[in-house]
Symmetry: C2
Subunit: 280 residues, 2 copies
C-alpha cells in the first residue's frame, strides 16, 4: 500500500486482540524510534516497551477510565531523556543544563513526538493498530517510580499497540482546506468557521449514545471494555450543563479548558519533580 | 519499499534541486497533516505552505545561517492554532482557555508534531527530502506578523522540503539498544554510557573540517550553500574553548545549554505575545 493511502486510512485503535506482538516486530518499532529525526542529533529519547502483565496492569491503574491501556498487548512509553546527556556531560567535565532550558524542552519534546509518530505509522504498516494516551505526563511521578526512571527522564507520551480486534470508522474531522493555508494564514470568516465545525460534528443530537457513536467513539469503546463510567459521566455532565450544541459538548464536557487551567501548577510541579525547571 | 526500510533509510536533506513541488503533491502533504492523530479530535493545527519567492526569502531572512530555508522550494509552517477553537467557542457562547492551559499546550504541540512527522515520512515516500528547522518559535513574532497569523496561532515548527540534490550519508547515532528499554528503564553504567557516546561520535579529531564532515554535516552544507559563518564560527569557538573531546564539542559549541537557559524568558515572552500564557 502507498504510504499516502495508509496515512489517510489510519484510525486510532482502542480494541486489541490479545495476541502478543512478536519480538522482531517490537524490535523494528524501537529501531524506527531510534532513527527518527532529532534536533542537533542530540537524541534525548528513551522508549520503554511494556508487554508483561505487571507493567500493563500498573499503566492501566495509573491511567484511569481508558481500559485499552491495560488491554493493549504492547505499550510504549516515550520519554524525554536528559539523564543520559547530563551524565555524559558530568563524566566529561562539561556543564549540561538542558533540563532548565525552555528551548531544549521544546526541541526535545518535538523529538519525542517524531519518534512516536514514526512508530504509529510503521506499526500501521505492519498490521498493528495504536492509540496515543496523552494523560501520561500527569501521572509521571508514579510512572517514573514504577518504571525506574531517574531524575531528568520524563515520560511524555504513551502509545498503546496491538493487532486490532475492530478498526473504528472514520471520526469527523475538519477538512484539509481548513487546516491548510497557502502562502499566508487566512482566518476563516465567522460564517465559514461555523460551517466548518457544523460539518465536522453534524447536527447536535439529544440522544447521547447516538451522539457519542458519531463523535466520541472512545466512550462507547470504554463501555464495551467494561468501563462505563466515561459514558455515564459524560451524560451526567451533559444534563447538568444543559448541553445543547456541539461547542458546548466539546468545551463543557470533553475538553474542559477551565479544569485544565486549574491543573497548570500541579503539572509544572510534576516536571520539576523530574528535574525539569524550564518554564521560567 | 517497505515503510520500515524507508524509515531506516531517511536522512535529513538540506540540499534541494530548485524544481517546484507540484500542486498535487503539496495537496497530499496537507491532507496527510490534516488526518494525523489529534488529542480529543480537537485539531489545533494549521499548516501554511510557502512556495512563492517572497515568503521563502522572508523565512530565510528570519532564520539565519540556514541557507536551505530560502533554497527549499517548499516550506511548511506547522502552527499550534487555538484561534479557530477560541473563535468557535466565542461564537457559541462557551468559554475557551486552552491557550492558558499547560496541559492543552502539551497535547496540542504533540498534535503539531504528529502532523509534521507524518508529512516527513510521506514526503520521503514521494521522493522528496526534508529537514526540520527548530528555530522557528524564537522568531515567531516576525513570522506571525509576516504570515498574517492572529493571536492564538503560534508557529512551532518549520519543515523545509524539496527534491534532494544530494542525500547525506548516515549521521552517527546511538544504537536502538541504548534508546530502548524492556519493561523497565535501565540507566546505563558509566562505562557503557561512555562507550555508547564514544561509538556514536568516534575518536575526537583535531581537524575541524574532517570532524564536521563526520558529525556536523550541516556546517559543511551551509558553507557549500554560501554561508560559511557556521563553520568559521564553530571553529573559532572550538579554539576559544580549547575543545578536546566530543562532549566538549557538543555542549560548548553545538548545543550550548548555558545560552539556552539565558533565552528562557525571551522565549516565554514570545509565547505570551501570541496569546499563550500557559507556563504558570
Amino acid at each position: 500500500m502507498e504510504l499516502y493511502d495508509l496515512v489517510m486510512r489510519r484510525r486510532s485503535v482502542r480494541n486489541f486482540r490479545p495476541d502478543e506482538v512478536p519480538g522482531d516486530i517490537v524490535e523494528k518499532l524501537v529501531n524506527a524510534a531510534a532513527s527518527a529525526p532529532t534536533g542537533c542529533n542530540i537524541q534525548p529519547l528513551s522508549v520503554v516497551t511494556v508487554q508483561e502483565a505487571a507493567g500493563r496492569a500498573k499503566l492501566g491503574e495509573m491511567i484511569k477510565r481508558q481500559p485499552w491501556v491495560k488491554n493493549a498487548p504492547l505499550s510504549m512509553i516515550f520519554c524525554l531523556d536528559f539523564w543520559r546527556l547530563k551524565r555524559w556531560a558530568e563524566l566529561s567535565g562539561v556543564e549540561f543544563r538542558g533540563h532548565d532550558a525552555f528551548s531544549h524542552f521544546l526541541l526535545a519534546y518535538a523529538d519525542v513526538m517524531c519518534a512516536a509518530q514514526t512508530v504509529v505509522l510503521l506499526a500501521e504498516s505492519l498490521g498493528l493498530g495504536s492509540v496515543y494516551v496523552g494523560r501520561l505526563p500527569y501521572v509521571a511521578d508514579d510512572a517514573r517510580e514504577y518504571f525506574g526512571m531517574p531524575t531528568y527522564v520524563l515520560p511524555l507520551m504513551l502509545l498503546c499497540l496491538g493487532y486490532p480486534k475492530t478498526v473504528p470508522r472514520r471520526v469527523p474531522k475538519l477538512p484539509p482546506a481548513v487546516i491548510g493555508h497557502r502562502e499566508q494564514y487566512r482566518p476563516l470568516s465567522d460564517d465559514d468557521l461555523r460551517t466548518a465545525f457544523d460539518e465536522k460534528y453534524g447536527a447536535f443530537d439529544g440522544d447521547a449514545r447516538r451522539y457519542f457513536g458519531r463523535v466520541l467513539g472512545e466512550a462507547l469503546e470504554a463501555e464495551e471494555q467494561g468501563e462505563g463510567e466515561w459514558l455515564e459521566g459524560s451524560r451526567a455532565r451533559m444534563a447538568e450543563k444543559a448541553v445543547a450544541s456541539n461547542a458546548e459538548f466539546v468545551f463543557k464536557v470533553r475538553y474542559r479548558a477551565d479544569l485544565m487551567v486549574e491543573t497548570n501548577a500541579a503539572a509544572i510541579d510534576i516536571f520539576k519533580n523530574a528535574g525539569f525547571d524550564c518554564f521560567r
